[in-house]
Symmetry: C2
């Protein structure tokens, strides 16, 4: 049965990859439009590819160094122990390092190809808008879907392939294989952290720089070709939102699959002992997460293919996207139910499978709840954003105070949702078996909920990449000075793209939150397996564990600070460059009067940001990698004969409280930033006087309320697009790094 299950998953993954190739070809056969548009698109393409090449070189260098450390640590420094899953230190080091390197390489590859398609979809979307909004919508979504399918299918293929590899050559008990391939998830997180950081710093330094001098000082619109920072800004959309988020979700799906496999194997083994064996055997339960995800790929593909506009192109494109999403969700849930019935069936506990199915439903509902909460806090229909716009009337300071208030406030609803999801899936899993059986299905219940949430990951990721593609299409249309009605169409798509980007951020935090519990249970399980003794819990009342927890929370604060300050300093460099270019232009009423022959120097801006972003991503990235290792190794000095696991327990404290702090901080930064952004857009849509005030004599002056809102928007940029999304990765990296290094802390 193992072989069939593996083949099934590999088959579905390969199908996903082939379909991605098909979509890429489909997108590429559309026209690339006029020479003016191509010129801009090529500038974006060059900037993005140059950045990604340099970034990947840096990241792979760091990963290589870390792979050596990993290999030496496991193969040479650490002694072989009786409970190790393989027979020698060398074997352990070999498999863990191999998984790490493969995870890193696959993540880099998925990010690169995704972006390759996305920077070719933007111009095609822009061109298609001229004739058909339906085509434009589909190009943008399918271009995004290439990235989405690639990420999900490759992560599945990697995990399954590695599993098959170890199974064939490793001579390892099958249930212990996940312990060896956790490195894949760690390699992916490692790359994701730097990719998200580097891309996030790049995109926001460029955006903040462009906004500040462009909109505020020079009074020119977004994406205006006269702004020297505008190409860097458009490049940033690709390298940050697209490549960064792709790497983020790549590692999520990889790490969470492996974590769920570890918990499934434990549960199934315990069930066998308690005479509650599953019909599909231990392997069946362990492979359940992979099978469920494989079905999810197909559901997402069908959903993506269903998206189209109505004939008159009257409906909101968001509605079309939502319809596709609902198809994907319903199909994924049907398939999920089938998978639970097939693989999680145990004759002695006939209710078990549908209990687990309900856990999956809980996961889906959680993602929906997160999406709604995100909308409430970031859309200008609702009170929070309106209160920020209102506060802008008294200047930038009150705008900032209001925005910080909204950001801090928005954490409480997701907290309650997470709490409810965690407890309900736990108790559903717990009650899957009769109380008298002594079986504990609770943790696996939370794992199944996470799998349910991730079932439609490919669709979500397609919607997310839709964002930068339409954003770029809008930029190309704007910069190539197309007629007003074309711009209106791209604006429609762009607005939808902003919404989908915000929603997927909510989805990413939600999945990080739900997955966190699963991942640290997997960590405890792993510690128990390596140590040969149960880990009885994570006792915060022990001062050593408490200090570990404190450090975990402080790590989140320090990391956020470094990410935010990196943007601040890179942006300052750009601002000074643009000011230098603008210094000699004539002004009227404090508004720059551009000469017709003004030629901005785009290349210098692109170069400045590339250099800064790469320089600034290293320190925060290494901080996250080194802190848990440092604590785990230092706190070994507290090990006593009575408490051999104290260091591993302190690291668990760091991981758990770091995760709690990280989730809340990410919500604060993402939603605070999103709310500021839309408060500005609300004013631009005409509220509180709009963008310009027209005096009685017809003179146009800047509306100070709008200027105040732009300050908030600018502050929110590094919050929502650099630090916030990097925190999602940080949370998961903490989990995967502790999973990989757990044996070193014992």
């Amino acid at each position: 049965m193992t072989a069939q299950l593996i083949l099934l998953v590999i088959g579905f993954s390969v199908f996903g990859l082939l379909f991605a190739a098909y979509l890429a070809r489909w997108v590429l056969r559309f026209s690339t439009g006029s020479a003016a548009m191509q010129k801009i698109s090529n500038a974006i393409k060059e900037g993005a590819e140059a950045f990604l090449r340099r970034q990947n070189r840096t990241i792979l260098g760091l990963a290589l160094a870390f792979a050596v450390v990993l290999f030496v640590g496991y193969g040479v420094i650490r002694e072989h122990r009786a409970f190790d899953p393989v027979g020698s230190s060398f074997q352990l080091a070999f498999w863990i390092t191999l998984s790490f390197v493969l995870g890193a390489l696959c993540s880099v590859f998925a990010g690169y190809v995704g972006m390759w398609v996305s920077i070719r979809s933007n111009i095609r979307t822009a061109t298609a808008v001229l004739s058909s909004l339906n085509d434009a919508l589909r190009i943008a979504l399918r271009g995004g879907a290439v990235s989405g399918l690639l990420v999900v299918a490759m992560s599945l293929l990697g995990v399954t392939g590695l599993y098959a590899l170890v199974d064939a050559f490793g001579n390892v008990e099958p249930t212990k294989i996940p312990l060896l391939i956790v490195g894949y998830g760690f390699g992916a997180s490692f790359v994701a952290l730097f990719a998200q950081l580097g891309g996030g710093i790049y995109t926001k330094a460029a955006d903040v720089g462009a906004d500040l001098v462009g909109k505020v000082e020079a009074g020119i619109p977004e994406d205006d070709p006269r702004n020297p920072a505008v190409i860097a800004d458009l490049v940033g959309d690709n390298v940050g939102d697209c490549a960064g988020r792709g790497a983020d979700l790549f590692e999520s799906t990889a790490a969470e699959n492996i974590g769920a496999m570890i918990l499934g194997a434990s549960l199934a083994a315990a069930a066998e002992k308690a005479n509650f064996g599953f019909s599909a055997g231990i392997i069946g339960v362990m492979m359940f997460p992979l099978v469920a995800r494989a079905f999810g790929i197909v559901a997402s593909i069908i959903g993506i293919m269903m998206v189209k506009m109505d004939k008159e192109e009257k409906i909101d494109p968001m509605q079309a996207l939502n319809r596709g999403y609902y198809y994907a969700v319903v199909l994924a849930m049907v398939a999920f139910g089938g998978a639970t019935y097939w693989l999680l069936n145990t004759p002695k506990a006939p209710d078990a499978w549908w209990h687990f199915f309900l856990c999956g439903i809980v996961g889906v509902l959680t993602s929906v709840a997160f999406v709604y909460i995100t909308q409430y806090y970031t859309e200008y229909k609702y009170r929070p954003v309106q209160s920020i716009a209102e506060a802008s009337k008294t200047g930038p300071a009150t705008n900032i105070i209001a925005g910080v208030g909204v950001g801090l406030e928005c954490t409480w609803m997701p907290t309650l949702v997470m709490g409810a999801a965690l407890l309900s899936s736990y108790f559903l899993g717990q009650s899957a078996f009769p109380a008298s059986s002594g079986m504990h299905g609770g943790l696996f219940g939370t794992a199944v909920a996470t799998m349910g949430m991730l079932a439609t990951a490919a669709y979500i990721l397609a919607m997310d990449t839709f964002g930068p593609i339409t954003d770029n299409a809008g930029g190309i249309v704007e910069m190539s000075e197309q007629p007003e009605e074309v711009r209106k169409k791209t604006d429609r798509l762009d607005a939808v793209g902003n919404t989908t980007k915000a929603l997927t951020k909510g989805y990413a935090v939600g999945s990080a939150a739900l997955a966190a519990f699963l991942l640290f249970q997997a960590y405890m399980d792993e510690v128990a397996q390596y140590a040969g003794q149960e880990m009885h819990g994570v006792n915060l009342a022990n001062p050593v564990v408490f200090v570990g927890a404190l450090i975990g929370a402080a790590l989140v604060f320090l990391f956020s600070s470094m990410a935010i300050r990196a943007v601040g300093s890179a942006a300052q460099a750009i601002i000074e460059e643009v000011r230098r270019q603008y210094a000699k232009l004539p002004r009227l009423n404090d508004i720059i009067q551009f000469p017709a022959d003004f030629k901005p120097d785009y290349a210098t801006c692109v170069d400045i940001v590339t250099k800064s972003a790469l320089r600034k991503m290293v320190a925060p990235g290494l901080l996250v990698v080194l802190t848990p290792i440092g604590v785990g190794l230092t706190f070994k000095m507290f090990i006593t004969p009575e408490n051999k696991l104290i260091s591993a327990e302190a690291v668990a404290g760091l991981l758990m409280v770091g995760t709690i702090a990280g989730i809340l901080m990410a919500l604060f930064l993402n939603n605070g930033g999103g709310a500021w952004d839309n408060a500005k857009k609300y004013i631009e849509s005409g509220a509180h006087g709009g963008k310009y005030l027209i005096g009685p004599d017809g003179t146009k002056t800047k509306n100070p309320t709008h200027a105040a809102a732009v300050v908030g928007d600018t502050v929110g940029d590094p919050f929502k697009d650099t630090a916030g999304p990097s925190l999602h990765v940080l949370i998961k990296l903490l989990s995967t790094i502790t999973l990989v290094l757990a044996p070193l802390f014992i």
Copy 2:
């Protein structure tokens, strides 16, 4: 021996109170200066007293309602249990409610009297400056010391008096008395939370309002009499900084004394059983915290009396204050050593007493480290503040980004210091007894460290209240238009006051952090006593506890949001009022030209803030009180026969992780706000062009760099003076409320 110890502590406390009365008389015999100065001082006095009266009425109403709930909860709803420290539900309800009411009343009284003296010291300080800086310094410090001594002595008297009362009439085993009087600490925290919130909202709404319209829009200096919000601002200094912080430290000392007593009693009882009995008996160990604090009062008094300027008045007043502080610290430590030798001596473990003495030294060093770290992050000599000033050159957005970066960054050093202090005092206490004895002195070690830190609380509090007194004195001198050289002298004092205020905030967080661990150990001890079974830890890996922890952290975020937004909305009301008053004034170059006969309407501003602050303090205050109760009662549904303490454990998770999040958030808000404040002052001192740019033709225009820095300063106001300090109280209120209500969660 009990009686003698009680008498000793009461004697020292009464001495402290009498000395406070002596200092008050000493201050009051100084001259109250000219009629112009008196007019301003009286306006401040009236505003402050009116606010405090109304605030106290609201707070006492809330406290009364809560006392009824407490009485009914314990006396009627909860059933009597075998392990209760008294014989009936009624008795339990009686003592707990009585302690609560007394704690609340004493806190209100201490706050009121402290402020009564401080608003009379300001005018005398201002008058004394005209003739002698030495007198001014001493008036301000001794005026502040009235508040400091009152707070510390009353909290000690209250705890000891209640102890004596229960001992005499309660028929309770002495070691269980602290369980009955924990209500005193809770009553004090209850009042402190609302006092700090209400005062904090008041002071910053007035300050933000005054700053925004005064400095930025009208371009007039701070404390300019033409600003209608200026009296409200000066009133705010008293009700926020002075009354608020007094209530904060009142409850700290009360709650931490009781917590340390609970741990001391447990340790001594265990020692007796293990045949390691202390010479001073169980009661001696339990009373140790009170005796150590009593000695600390005398040390602080001597320190305060040592402060004076040199004859030529050349030295920095800060130096004079520091000298007094060093005296107080050294004396307190000598007395502390004596107290450990006297009361913590056990013949069988001769090293125990000096191990505990070293714990006390660790506590003192921790407070010193916190003070230095605070200085590094908030003074403009150092990199963090300078980086904010530098970022102001590119506008308010980069100023805010830089400030948030500094605030988030500043958490890591205190985290390491706290971690080191906690672990070293724990292991010092642990090794106080031979390993073979089976005694666990570690927790008591952390308690003793806290006592060491708090030994000089009276001196610290005197320095803290020195801040608003000199601030007000400066305001009075400015508004009564005294000559430049007098202003320079008050500016010198005011600058020192700003420093002492920042330092005491660092001290308050440090003590909250160190005390937190002691308080939640006391909670666990209490749960064990009431439940008659050991609480084995706080296991974060249990999903119910994890969700409790998540809620604790989210509570900190939501509370901070409410506090910050309260200031934002109250400030907006003031800004609109001042704009209304300024609307018709003539302007030149965007700078208001005030007519000579301009009469601002102070009273309306004072009234607007008073109403807003009182209205806005209720919701966040109740949130903090009701969340742990709600979780504790709701989570009783997860109680199973195997795990009877799960709800109590979830509340412990909430408490601990809430504390971690609260400490970090308070550091972020306090130091971020302080750094913004001083970045602005740095620019005003001439950096980056100073306040005004002088054109080639001699015209004065506002320096945009300074304007950007003012935005940051304004944003920082509610951070550092409303939300941050309120979080100190929140942390301790969580501890005391759980201590008081623990029996209801079992």
